[in-house]
């Protein structure tokens, strides 16, 4: 209503295009991490997500791929953007989406992770989207259920959809990922985003660097295919992409770094440090940001920032992931 005729026609043809494109199929039941995904699988998901980006900019975004399917978002750790992103993605594909977070669940009453999994499994969900504070917990849960499981972040281990959305954002802005120099800065030790990104970017042929104080670098990280730096200026030199990671509040006051002031001085991404990267370098952050701790507002909101676009890509990537797994579900 209220749209000029040619615009409606454009939308209709765009929708038809999308409808005609065959869904990308992941030949696995779960998406637990980037580790183990092939280059083709990653590229397949990104290509499909690209189409969902277009769809998501239409007025009618509703698809029916997941019609009749039940998706449960099981979050043992609070999350705003990831949970809402998965919720929107599921709903746009036509699934019935239910959110369960730890605050209101019986995990608080001492029920174990396994018991929760078994209980939920009895309700016949088709897809579980799970976040948990312990590394490996999502995989443990996946062993106990009959449905597909997507890891929405497990401890310091993996956050595969974040790495996929980051890759999509980079690809759309740089045209490629291969041979780009990507510098990841900040709390590498406790970051699942860093691990998933290191693996994905390596698989797609980027050169990956990490920069952090030694207390925030896990020993052995150099064996994961990254160049390790302790100085931002060196780590950022000629970088195409700069990713900054969130520094958790409890790690700022003496246990890992002396103070947030000192951290910002040496590792906070401000315009001065960003100047060491390539002039057309782009800045990313998985959010939520601590402005003035790991990133300066001028950079976060500046022309080189992709931070808002990352959020948009998140929905598209999650739609691609949900769709790709749903093709393997029984009766699909």
């Amino acid at each position: 209503m209220g749209l000029p005729g040619h615009a409606s026609a454009l939308i209709a043809s765009a929708l038809m295009n999308i409808a005609q494109t065959p869904a990308f199929v992941l030949h696995r039941r779960h998406l637990l991490g980037i580790e183990g995904l092939s280059r083709d699988e990653i590229v397949g998901l990104l290509d499909r997500a690209e189409e969902f980006v277009d769809l998501n900019r239409q007025i009618d975004k509703k698809q029916s791929t997941l019609r009749g399917r039940t998706q449960i978002n099981l979050f043992f750790e609070v999350s705003t953007r990831t949970q809402s992103s998965f919720e929107i993605a599921g709903k746009r594909l036509g699934a019935d989406v239910m959110n369960m977070s730890v605050g209101s669940s019986s995990m608080r009453k001492g029920e174990t992770l396994i018991d929760t999994a078994i209980t939920l499994n009895a309700m016949h969900p088709d897809i579980l989207v799970v976040r948990h504070h312990a590394s490996g917990a999502v995989e443990l849960l996946a062993h106990k259920v009959d449905c597909s499981v997507i890891n929405a972040g497990d401890g310091s281990h993996e956050h595969p959809t974040q790495a996929l959305l980051d890759a999509l954002t980079i690809r759309r802005n740089k045209g490629q990922i291969e041979r780009l120099t990507v510098t990841i800065c900040g709390d590498i030790a406790h970051s699942r985003v860093a691990r998933s990104n290191i693996m994905l970017l390596n698989t797609l042929g980027a050169r990956v660097r990490v920069v952090a104080p030694s207390t925030l670098l896990p020993p052995g990280i150099e064996r994961m295919g990254v160049e390790v730096f302790r100085d931002m200026r060196e780590g950022l030199r000629d970088a195409d992409i700069v990713m900054t990671l969130r520094l958790q509040r409890e790690r700022m006051s003496g246990s890992f770094v002396p103070s947030s002031q000192e951290y910002f001085h040496y590792f906070g991404l401000d315009e001065k440090k960003l100047a060491y990267a390539k002039p057309d370098a782009l800045v990313m952050h998985p959010g939520p940001m601590n402005r003035g701790v790991e990133i300066d507002s001028l950079v976060a909101d500046g022309a080189q920032s992709l931070i808002r676009e990352q959020v948009e890509m998140g929905v598209a990537v999650r739609m691609a992931a949900l769709e790709a797994l749903s093709q393997n579900l029984p009766n699909a």
């Binding site: 174990t112 992770l113 590394s135 052995g220």
Partner: protein
């Protein structure tokens, strides 16, 4: 069921006695709970009437194993293991003497508790059981226990179990005091502050799994402190479970300097490594953690050289409630008393260590260190004897394990060789059929 106490003659065996460096084909005669004779041709010369004659052709006869470190849940955690179930498991693994950890609930930190455990074991266990006593009251690491009275009551060593005494002054005084009673102090060498949140070996694999690592320095720092304090006090000190190559340098220096220091490593650390953790397999979560393959190799070499004195099971039964959890939240520990020998035989078959050296570290050395009978086939000694088939292939079925808990890292492992018969004080306590 215990069989009667008639004499037993083991014939045509390979008699292996690490306590006397003997390894010869022959017979072994047991009567009245002691080894009567061990030589060639006893059978031909005639034996007492009613003797049970067992043909051990192709098999090894050796001293029963003495497991220097096992957790038994009695008292306080009987759902995990009792003295009865632990002793059944021990007998099935060729272990004729269990040396138990004192960190029970309540802990074994007073003579009445030692007495309780000894009585309970006498009534319910089918192998010998000796408790170690707590080194500090209530395992708190602050005040030493009644070392003299506890030793008199039957405690064979003093340890705070899987806790380290972090206060160096407490440790120094305990060592000094223990020296006057010639008591052995056994210490878990893991600095808890350096361990921190760590749950597996620090390094690439921990980094990949997103798990916090335990640095090797957590062990070497504590061990270095301990051996210096032990030298200062002149007291007998034993490192309970060493895991890494760097610790061996510390140990070697201390031994070369003449300090009264000994060390053990667990069967897990000489047969497994950090890669076994795989994708968060909690049965491979141990404290101290499994280390790198290079550490494992260094430990085995040190064991073959005699630098490492003892191999123990570090038996620690954990049920599904404590193991079926995310890796970081799961309890550490693995059962092992029943599989210690079979797992160790892997090293023998691979040519990493000789059979006499393995058996010495599992029987003769702990007997010497703890001043216990056993660990020898010398005539007149207690008849704690095992018969081993070195070659029989078998697959470990956790349901057949005697232990109450099934947290074995050798779940469905292909093993070669096992105990065929376990004789405790002259009675057959276990027979493999």
């Amino acid at each position: 069921m215990l069989s009667d106490r008639r004499p037993i003659l083991l014939t045509n065996a390979r008699i292996l006695d690490p306590s006397r460096d003997l390894d010869f084909p022959g017979d072994l005669l047991i009567a009245d709970g002691v080894v009567r004779d061990a030589r060639r041709g006893i059978g031909a010369a005639g034996v007492p009437e009613g003797t049970e004659v067992i043909d051990c052709r192709g098999r090894v006869v050796a001293p029963g194993l003495i497991d220097m470190r096992a957790f038994v849940g009695e008292p306080g955690a009987e759902h995990r293991e009792t003295l009865a179930s632990a002793s059944q498991a021990a007998a099935a693994g060729g272990v004729t003497t269990i040396v138990m950890r004192p960190d029970t609930t309540p802990p074994i930190d007073n003579p009445a508790m030692v007495d309780f455990v000894l009585r309970r074991a006498r009534d319910t266990a089918i192998v010998h059981v000796h408790p170690m006593a707590a080194l500090t009251k209530d395992l708190k690491g602050a005040e030493m226990t009644e070392i003299g009275l506890l030793k008199a009551a039957g405690a064979v060593a003093f340890t705070d179990g899987n806790r380290s005494v972090t206060n160096a002054q407490v440790m120094r005084r305990a060592l000094s005091y223990a020296k006057d009673f010639d008591a052995l102090i056994v210490h878990h060498t893991e600095d808890p502050d350096l361990v921190g949140e760590g749950v597996m070996n620090e390094g690439e694999f921990a980094a990949r799994l997103g798990l916090t690592g335990v640095p090797r320095a957590a062990e070497t720092v504590m061990l270095e402190r301990d051996v210096r304090l032990a030298a200062l006090a002149g007291a007998r000190y034993h490192a309970a479970s060493l895991t890494c190559a760097e610790s061996l340098d510390v140990l070697r220096r201390a031994k070369d300097a003449g300090a009264p220091v000994t060390a053990a490593c667990s069967i897990n650390h000489i047969t497994l490594n950090e890669v076994d953790v795989g994708s968060y397999r909690t049965f491979y979560k141990t404290a101290p953690p499994l280390r790198a393959e290079s550490d494992r190799v260094a430990l085995v070499t040190a064991l073959a050289d005699g630098l490492i004195d003892i191999v123990m099971s570090d038996h620690d039964p954990q049920d599904v409630e404590t193991k079926r959890l995310p890796f970081a939240e799961a309890a550490p520990g693995a059962i092992g008393i029943e599989t210690m020998l079979a797992a160790g035989l892997r090293l023998v078959h691979n040519g990493e260590i000789t059979l006499p050296n393995l058996l010495r570290a599992m029987s003769t050395r702990p007997a010497e260190l703890l001043e216990l009978p056993g660990g020898t086939l010398r005539p007149g000694g207690v008849a704690d004897v095992i018969v081993i088939d070195l070659d029989v292939p078998w697959v470990l079925d956790p349901n057949e394990l005697k232990s109450k808990c099934k947290n074995t890292p050798f779940d469905e492992a292909r093993l070669q060789g096992r105990v065929i018969r376990t004789i405790v004080a002259g009675r057959t306590a276990y027979e493999y059929v």
